[in-house]
Amino acid sequence: MKRLMMVLGMISLVFFITANSTQAKEPTLYVSTLATGHYHTGMAVPLSALFYRAVSADSSWEYMGRPNNRIFNFDFHRASQGKYIALATHTGVHQSFDYGKTWKVTTGWRITEVNNVAFDPDNPDILYCSSPYGFYKSIDAGKTWNKHIDGLNSINAQFVSSFIIDHSNPAVIYSATEDGVYKSVDAGASWEKLGLRIKGVRTIVQHPIDRLSFIVGTEDNGLYFTHDGGRVWERRETGILSSTFYSVAFDPTNADIIYAAGFQTGVYKSIDGGKKWSQSFHGLGILDIRTIAVDPSNSDRIFAGTIGKGLYKSVDGGQTWQYIGLEGGYISSIKIDNFEGAKK
């Protein structure tokens, strides 16, 4: 029954994406950069900003704002068509309420070195962000923020590298921390530790259909999978020669196809749900990859953001790569969307 539901889910997802991709305009590629080359405090950071361009175009990048801030991640409120944007930066959360035309730092001095930010998909007034000091929530569009570390009982647990909101229930949040994976079922108010006893979890992704299946990427401990919501975890390493993964992405049209990348990895690909992996780096100018994204309108089109060497694109499902700009950029996050608003 579960299997049947998954198949039906996949069919509906493919239909949804196909329908959208035929109706919608050219999707847009949004990219944030952390810094240029080897950053240190005080130096100019010309590439630190949010950029966009058409996914398939060869045109130059359009700038969306917040130069000289080290942007670790960003989020759009999708239902608002990109009217509300939040950036996770070294200097806190920066928000735009007008499609990126103007910006405001909303977090004050108590929140710093923010590495992830996300809107509640149903309510743009609710935002979450994480930092090496814990997890934070705003329920008034960033006017005030509260720290939520109930259950994150150690310095390592409070070092939240990233988090995701369950795609079926926005009250459920999973955090990748220095002390394993934590789960909240009350919209971040409290946390419980899941089964993985691995340090240095950097990223967590949820299976696009099966909400109990997750993959985490770690620093030094490879990739771990769970299919029961985090009780039992299994390391998958067949074909993997690397140990540090900063980014994992499912093919949204075929969840058996998974990409993973990190420090000295190039891009790894699995076509059997993560059982076996093959490495791809043909055309990549560097093996250190911070983030990868799959174009939902054409899943052969993959983007890889490197650490200090700009952005690369593959049009053959990750077999070969070509450089597409943002020279010298430490690419921190990539998103592909097709809403209208977040372009000037």
Binding site: L34, T41, G42, A44, W103, W109, Y133, E219, Q264
Partner: protein, 610 residues
């Protein structure tokens, strides 16, 4: 450098040569000397023609060529960069020239604060500069909406956030100690914002806070000062400053504000000297009276530990012993600050600039990086190495180690190491300057050194090897590089004592001629006092009876006893000594010098001078 006022330079040199100490000069004479040193510093910058903010501030302050200052200011403000290292110079320039600059220059400044979004950085000195200058600028344009500021927040919001942070910083500093403590380099980055607040803040409460923090930082330095040198362990120092302290900001402050030592320059010190702050007499006396040897203890705070630790801000315990001839000081050891920690050292009045002896375990790791920096550990290492080029060098002369611990009592120091196999690095190093008058490897096992009237004994617990290190020519001026492989004996900087044993350590004894008489007697006394040690993995200890019969027993990492009585570092106060005293949590520092007293009460913001 432009010497447009040769008479002033001559006067200053004469003044320095006379070297009037605080005890022999009146307050009036001190203030007169201060004014001369201040003018001397400004005179190096006010005629510069290449655009830079120091020149602009100097021109505005002196009124020399305002037109050029305006042009420079407008030109530089077109391309702001440098984050908080941009914020304080432009703020300083603005206040120096506020009533003199053109409307166009003023508008250029205003526009820059609207369009340029400076990063806030990640350290205490970054935040002090960032928030102090944001507050001051917000006061100057108090009614602007968020659209007129880079932050998107209004003047009122910027001011409130900055004020709240600055008071929180003061609170934590005066309750559990300063982070980024006692840095001979970064003292500048604290004094600039505090002195600017004291001078330019319109809010009287903030102004008072700035004044008291300035006193606090100067007092902290004064109690650990000897002959233009910062004594003891530091949170941060660049290597070149260890060897050539004339490049250190603390040396410039010692010269300008304490009136001690050789003329020393730093362009950024122009911003403090342009304020009306004058060092209180009691702090000057504390800085300069070394007639009696003294022990000075402090508790400071580790920078925020963000992973791989049990405590966010573990305490730092600092111990100093200072005489008129030398000072020896130490931190308790371990990783207390990333990359640039200086755990212990001896400094003396002879043979500057190379007037120091110290040792360390040259450690580096992704663990250390991960403890303090939020980025991915693997990739951030490359960034660290790019900006702090010596970090992963086994020959480096700065940095703490989790495998190093110290135990100091007065002028005796024991340092122990228990280094696991595979650690970077698998050796320890000792620095002995080449200009020592004597460096004898005695049959007793002691390395015995003479530096003027200061004598140093170093007993290595394990064998080692000597090598020579030469100073790179360019290092004499301004680089962070370590030694060169030269053979020019005129550039010989130091001898390195390296020991490869992983369970290791040494005992240090320091005395002055005044304390022990002749160097020969010092040698004789040392030969009678041989440390007993156990050096096995997981079991490293030493038992040592000092040359004046104090029994020190130390088992790595934290078991210390003196004359059979256990030493409890957790009892350390924020400050404890003849000059400075403060209880943990008190928010109150008491300064004492003979019949003078000063109280800095940060709870009530009272600054009482008696």
């Amino acid at each position: 450098m432009t010497n447009n006022k040769p008479w002033l330079i001559l006067l200053i040199i004469l003044f320095s040569a006379i070297h009037i100490t605080a005890q022999t000069q009146s307050r009036e004479e001190y203030l007169q000397g201060f004014e001369q040193r201040k003018q001397w510093l400004i005179s190096h910058y006010d005629t510069l023609t290449r655009p830079n903010y120091t020149a602009i501030a100097a021109k505005y302050a002196t009124g020399y060529d305002i037109e050029t200052a305006d042009k420079m200011f407008i030109e530089l403000l077109q391309k702001p960069s440098g984050a908080m290292f941009w914020m304080f110079p432009v703020t300083g320039c603005y206040f120096a020239g506020k009533d003199k600059m053109s409307a166009e220059a003023s508008q250029a400044l205003r526009n820059a604060w609207k369009t340029y979004a400076p990063s806030r950085g990640d350290t205490e000195n970054h935040w002090a500069m960032w928030y102090a200058t944001l507050l001051l600028m917000s006061e100057q344009w108090p009614d602007l909406p968020g659209s007129e500021w880079f932050s998107g927040n209004s003047s009122v919001e910027n001011f409130q956030e900055a004020k709240e942070y600055l008071f929180e910083w003061a609170r934590i500093t005066t309750t559990i100690g300063q982070g980024e403590f006692d840095s001979p380099d970064y003292i500048l980055e604290y004094l600039i914002p505090t002195m600017m607040l004291a001078e330019y803040a319109l809010d009287p409460v903030v102004k008072q806070l700035g004044l008291m923090l300035t006193d606090y930082i100067f007092a902290d330095f004064a109690a650990e000062h000897l002959d233009q040198q910062y004594i003891g362990g530091y949170s941060r120092i660049y290597e070149r400053g260890l060897f050539r302290p004339q490049y250190l900001a603390s040396s410039v402050f010692a010269y300008i504000y304490f009136g001690v030592g050789e003329p020393a320059l730093h362009g950024w010190v122009i911003y403090p000297v342009l304020t009306s702050y004058r060092l209180p007499e009691i702090i000057l006396n504390i800085a300069t009276d070394r007639s009696q040897p003294y022990v000075h203890k402090e508790r400071k705070r580790v920078r925020n530990v963000i992973r791989h630790g049990d405590e966010r801000n573990p305490p730092v315990y600092k111990y100093n012993y200072i005489t008129k001839d030398y000072g020896i000081g130490s931190l308790q050891g371990g990783l207390l600050q990333p990359i640039q920690q200086h755990t212990w050292g001896i400094r003396y009045t002879y043979g500057k600039p190379f007037s120091t002896i110290f040792g360390l375990h040259p450690y580096w790791s992704t663990l250390e990086i991960g403890m303090f920096f939020p980025e991915e550990q693997k990739t951030s290492m490359a960034g660290i190495i790019a900006s702090k080029t010596t970090y992963n060098n086994p020959d480096k002369w700065t940095g703490g180690s989790p495998f190093e611990r110290t135990f100091q009592h007065k002028n005796t120091l024991v340092v122990l190491y228990d280094i696991p196999v595979g650690t970077t690095s698998e050796h320890i190093n000792g620095f002995f300057p080449a200009n020592l008058q004597q460096r004898i490897v005695d049959d007793s096992g002691w390395i015995i050194c003479k530096a003027g009237d200061s004598y140093v004994g170093w007993f290595p617990l394990q064998p080692g090897e000597w090598s020579k290190e030469y100073e790179a020519e360019k290092q004499r001026f301004n680089t962070a590089t370590t030694s060169s492989n030269g053979t020019d004996e005129s550039l010989l900087r130091n001898y390195r004592f390296r020991s490869h044993a992983l369970q290791n350590g040494y005992v240090i004894e320091v005395r002055s001629r005044e304390q022990i008489g002749s160097f020969e007697n010092f040698k004789k006394q040392l030969a009678k006092t041989i440390p007993q040690s156990i050096l096995k993995p997981g079991s490293v200890s030493v038992k040592y009876k000092t040359i004046d019969n104090r029994l020190m027993e130390f088992t790595f990492p934290e078991d210390r006893s003196l004359n059979g009585k256990s030493i409890d570092l957790t009892q350390y106060k924020l400050f404890e000594g003849p000059f400075l005293n403060a209880e943990v949590g008190s928010q109150m520092l008491t300064l004492t010098y003979k019949n003078q007293k000063m109280i800095l009460n940060f709870k009530t913001l009272e600054r009482i001078i008696q």
